[in-house]
C-alpha cells in the first residue's frame, strides 16, 4: 500500500487554520482512518489531526519500531513506540508501587485506586492497531440486548441485524481471515452466501493439544451445561485469500505500507509477535486505511498536533472550532496554538482521550455521562506446564480459544468470558522465558546440557490461558480531568477510576475454576499465583486475583436512545452538539467478551454513511 510521499508534512497549522473542511477528524487510529477514507471517497474534504510524531509511514520508519523493540530489555506492549512527553501514552512498565490512599501518578493515567489498571493505548499514526493482536470476533446478538435478555447493563439502540452489513464492510477493510462455519457454530448469523476475505488461520499445535485433552469436557454455569472446545479466532491478518469472496471476485491482501513499492506483508509468517508489532505488516494496522484515504487527494494530515479544546457556539451548541497545539519536537514543550474549523467534527481519539478532550473543554452535557461507564475487559491469566512438549512460542500470538462461554442464560447472574490460548507462553504473566532461565540457573543451579534440556521442556510445554471477562457499564468507572495533573504541553492528563464490578468478579471466580478443570483434564501442573502486592490485585469471596487490563476501552461516550440516557445517538452523533460525532469504543453500551476493534470499525462505517448523507 502506497503512502503518498510527504503526506505527513504537506500541510501545517497556519495553512490548515485558514481552510474550512467538510470534516475535521481527531485521531489517526482505526476509527479516524476509516472515517477519513469514507468521507474523502465520497468527495468530502477532510483534515485528519494526530498527536503522534509527524513522519510519513515508510517501511524504514516501521522497521525502526522493530529495531527499538528488539533492543528493549522489557518487551511490553508499547516497547517499540518511543516516549513522547508531548503526547504521552500509558505503559504498563511505568506503574510504580502504590502507597495506600495515594493516587498512582507515575504512569500517564492518574489513578486514585485502590484498583490500578495496566491498560494501554498507543498514540502514533495507526493508533493502537499498531500493537493490537488483531483478533476480530463479532459481538454476539445477545451482547446488544443485555438489559432485555439478562436484566443487566444496557441495551444498544441498534441490534446485531442492523450492524451486520457494516460488520462485513469492516471485515473487508481489515482483511479478516476466518471460516464462516466456525463462526456460525457459536451463534453468529451471516448471510447464506457469505465468506470472509481469507480462509481461517490454522490452529496451532498447542491449540490442538489442548482441544484433544479437553474433548468431551463440559462446565456448568447458571444451571446450564456448556461444552469446552477449542475454536479458531477470526483474525485481521493476511492468510490465504478465499476466491469465493465478494461473489467470486476474490480478495487481494493488503501488504506493507510505504512510500515506495514493497513486497512485504503478503502473508503471516508466524513471527509470534503480533503484540507489540508485526515485523512484516501481515497484520492489519490502520496505516493501511490511512494510506488509502490519503490517496484520494482530499485528506490532509496534520501531525504532532494535540487537540486541546473543543469550542462551542453558545447560541446553538454547535462546535465552532477545535484548538490544537502543534509541537516541533517530542522532547521539547515549545509549540504553537491554532484554531481549526470545519462543518463537522469527528473525535476518534480512543475512549480515554476523546473523553479527556471533552472534559478538558468543559462542555455542557445533558446526560452528565461524558467520561463515565468506562469499560475494559478484565483479564485473568492462568498458567501451567503441560506434560508434553506442545510447541509453545510459535504461530501468531493467539490462533484459538474457548468461546462457547461467551453467551448463555448464566449472564443474568455473572459475566461471560472467552478464553485465549496464548501461543507465546507465559510471557504476559511471568516475563517468560527470561524468568524461566533465571529460575533454572539461580534456583536450580543448572548449567550445560542439563540446563539446555530442562529449559527446552519448560518453554515448549508452557500453556497460558487468558480469560477475557466481560465488564458492564458502571457510572462510577470513569475518566475525569484535574488541573493538578498536566502533561508537558499543559494538557490535563486523564484521571481514571476503575473498580471491577461484582458481576465481573463472579465471572472471574468462575474463570479460575474453569482453568483448574482444564489443567486437570490436560494433566498440566498449575503454576498460577496472584501477588497481593500487585496494584491490580482484587479480593473476592475470600480469594485474590490479579486483574490485567485488556486495552479494549469503551463506554465513555455511551450510545443510547435519548439525550438523558446517553452521550451519542445510534449514529454516534453527540446529542448536545449536532455537528459533533464521537466515534470508537467509547460509544459502546456493552463489550461482551469480544475484542472491540471489529465492532467499532463496523460502527464507523455506519456512522460515515449517515454523515455523508447529512453533509450532502
Amino acid at each position: 500500500m502506497r503512502f503518498p510521499t510527504g503526506a505527513a508534512t504537506r500541510t501545517d497549522l497556519e495553512t490548515a487554520a485558514e481552510r474550512t473542511y467538510d470534516a475535521v477528524v481527531i485521531g489517526a487510529g482505526v476509527s479516524g482512518a476509516i472515517m477519513a477514507n469514507e468521507l474523502s471517497t465520497a468527495g468530502k474534504t477532510v483534515l485528519l489531526i494526530d498527536a503522534g510524531p509527524g513522519e510519513d509511514l515508510t517501511v524504514k520508519g516501521y522497521e525502526s519500531y522493530l529495531e527499538t523493540f528488539y533492543r528493549q530489555a522489557v518487551k511490553d506492549n508499547q516497547s517499540p513506540y518511543p516516549r513522547n512527553p508531548n503526547a504521552p501514552m500509558p505503559r504498563s512498565v511505568d506503574i510504580g508501587p502504590v502507597a495506600p490512599g495515594q493516587p498512582e501518578t507515575s504512569g500517564y493515567l492518574v489513578q486514585p485506586g485502590p484498583y490500578i489498571t495496566d491498560t494501554t493505548y498507543t498514540r502514533v499514526l495507526g493508533g493502537t492497531t499498531m500493537h493490537w493482536e488483531a483478533k476480530t470476533p463479532r459481538f454476539l446478538p445477545e451482547d446488544f440486548e443485555m438489559n432485555t435478555k439478562f436484566g443487566r447493563g444496557a441495551d444498544w439502540p441498534i441490534d446485531y441485524d442492523e450492524l451486520e452489513p457494516y460488520y462485513r464492510e469492516a471485515e473487508r477493510e481489515l482483511g479478516v481471515a476466518a471460516d464462516v462455519d466456525s463462526q456460525r457454530e457459536i451463534g453468529l448469523p451471516f448471510p447464506d452466501d457469505y465468506v470472509f476475505p481469507m480462509h481461517g488461520i490454522p490452529l496451532s499445535y498447542l491449540d490442538q493439544v489442548v482441544d484433544t485433552g479437553i474433548d468431551g469436557t463440559t462446565v456448568e454455569l447458571g444451571g446450564e451445561r456448556l461444552p469446552l472446545k477449542v475454536r479458531p479466532y477470526p483474525q485481521a491478518r493476511n492468510g490465504v485469500p478465499n476466491p469465493a469472496f465478494n461473489d467470486g471476485e476474490g480478495y487481494r491482501p493488503v501488504g506493507a505500507v510505504g512510500t515506495h513499492r514493497t513486497d512485504e506483508g503478503e502473508r503471516c509468517q508466524g513471527n509470534n509477535n503480533c503484540v507489540p508489532i508485526c515485523p512484516v505488516q501481515a497484520k492489519y494496522h490502520a496505516g493501511k486505511t490511512l494510506a488509502k484515504a490519503l490517496q484520494t487527494g482530499r485528506v490532509e494530515l496534520l501531525t504532532q498536533a494535540v487537540a486541546s479544546k473543543v469550542h462551542i457556539d453558545p447560541a446553538n451548541g454547535r462546535v465552532s472550532g477545535i484548538e490544537v497545539k502543534v509541537y516541533y519536537d517530542p522532547d521539547d514543550p515549545a509549540h504553537e496554538t491554532g484554531m481549526i474549523t470545519g462543518h463537522t467534527f469527528v473525535l476518534a481519539a480512543g475512549a480515554i482521550e476523546t473523553a479527556r478532550l471533552l472534559l478538558a473543554s468543559d462542555l455542557p452535557s445533558t446526560s452528565g455521562l461524558v467520561g463515565r461507564n468506562l469499560m475494559d475487559h478484565a483479564y485473568l491469566l492462568n498458567w501451567a506446564l503441560l506434560p508434553e512438549v506442545a510447541g509453545t512460542m510459535r504461530g501468531t500470538v493467539c490462533t484459538g480459544g474457548i468461546v462457547d462461554l461467551r453467551g448463555g442464560g448464566f449472564r443474568s447472574g455473572q459475566a461471560a468470558f472467552s478464553v485465549d490460548i496464548h501461543n507465546d507462553g507465559w510471557g504476559w504473566a511471568t516475563g517468560a522465558p527470561y524468568t524461566d532461565l533465571l529460575h533454572l540457573v539461580d534456583d536450580h543451579n543448572l548449567f550445560g546440557t542439563g540446563l539446555r534440556r530442562d529449559l527446552a521442556t519448560r518453554i515448549s510445554s508452557q500453556l497460558l490461558l487468558a480469560f477475557m471477562v466481560e465488564v458492564l457499564p458502571t457510572e462510577t468507572n470513569r475518566v475525569t480531568v484535574d488541573p493538578a495533573y498536566k502533561d508537558q504541553l499543559g494538557n490535563m492528563r486523564p484521571v481514571v477510576s476503575m473498580t471491577i464490578p461484582e458481576y465481573s468478579m463472579r465471572g472471574v471466580a468462575a474463570a479460575r475454576q474453569v482453568s483448574k478443570l482444564i489443567f486437570q483434564r490436560l494433566g498440566a501442573k498449575d503454576f498460577t499465583r496472584y501477588d497481593p502486592a500487585d496494584p491490580s490485585y482484587v479480593e473476592f469471596d475470600g480469594e485474590g486475583y490479579a486483574i490485567r487490563g485488556g486495552n479494549h476501552l469503551a463506554g465513555t461516550h455511551i450510545m443510547g436512545t435519548n439525550k438523558r440516557n446517553s452521550v451519542v445517538d445510534a449514529n454516534q452523533r453527540s446529542w448536545d452538539h449536532e455537528n459533533l460525532y464521537l466515534v470508537g469504543g467509547g460509544s459502546m453500551p456493552s463489550i461482551g467478551s469480544a475484542n472491540v476493534t471489529l465492532t467499532l470499525a463496523a460502527l464507523c462505517y455506519r456512522t460515515a454513511k449517515s454523515m455523508i448523507s447529512e453533509l450532502n
Binding site: 509470534n272 508489532i277 510447541g391 532461565l437 543451579n445 550445560g448
Partner: protein, 154 residues
C-alpha cells in the same frame, strides 16, 4: 588460545552448546566485549582459567565455579547472555565487593536478542524474527537436536 576462543570454550560448558552452535549466533565477540566492560579484567582472566582447569571435572563446576562468591554470578551471567542476549545487572553488594561497573540490564544488540539460545532449544524462534513460515505453527515441533557438546580439546 586467544581470549575469544577461551571465552567460547567456557561458554560451551556453561550453556551445553557446541562451539559451532555458539559461533553460529554471530554474537560471541559482542558477549565477550560486554563481559569485559562490566567486570574487571583480572576477574575475567580468573574465570576463564578456573573453567579451563575444571575441564573433565564436570561435577566440580557447580562447587568451584557457580557457587564461588566472586566468579559464580559472572558465570551465571554468561549463561544468561547466550540464552537471552541480555546482560543482567549484577547486584549492588557484589559490585561493591569486587569493584565492577554498574552496567544496567540491557539487550546487547538486536542480533543478540534474535540469536538467543532459549528460542532454539525450544524449537521456536525469537518473537519478531527468524520466523518459521505460514502455518508451520500447526505442525508438531521438530525434535531437539542432539544436545551433548563435543568433547574435543582445542
Amino acid at each position: 588460545m586467544d581470549r575469544l576462543k577461551e571465552f567460547v570454550a567456557v561458554s560451551e560448558r556453561l550453556t551445553g552448546h557446541r562451539h559451532i552452535e555458539l559461533m553460529g549466533t554471530g554474537s560471541a565477540e559482542e558477549y565477550l566485549q560486554t563481559l569485559r566492560r562490566a567486570v574487571p579484567e583480572d576477574l575475567v582472566e580468573d574465570l576463564l582459567a578456573t573453567a579451563h582447569d575444571l575441564d573433565g571435572h564436570e561435577d566440580a563446576v557447580t562447587v568451584e565455579l557457580l557457587a564461588d562468591p566472586r566468579l559464580g554470578p559472572v558465570a551465571k551471567n554468561i549463561i544468561v547472555l547466550w540464552y537471552c542476549g541480555t546482560w543482567h545487572q549484577l547486584n549492588d553488594d557484589w559490585r561493591q565487593t569486587y569493584g565492577a561497573d554498574p552496567v544496567d540490564t540491557h539487550v546487547v544488540s538486536a542480533n543478540a536478542y534474535l540469536s538467543g539460545l532459549q528460542w532454539t532449544v525450544a524449537r521456536a524462534h525469537a518473537p519478531g524474527g527468524n520466523m518459521q513460515g505460514f502455518a508451520a505453527w500447526a505442525d508438531r515441533p521438530a525434535p531437539e537436536a542432539e544436545a551433548e557438546p563435543e568433547r574435543t580439546n582445542r
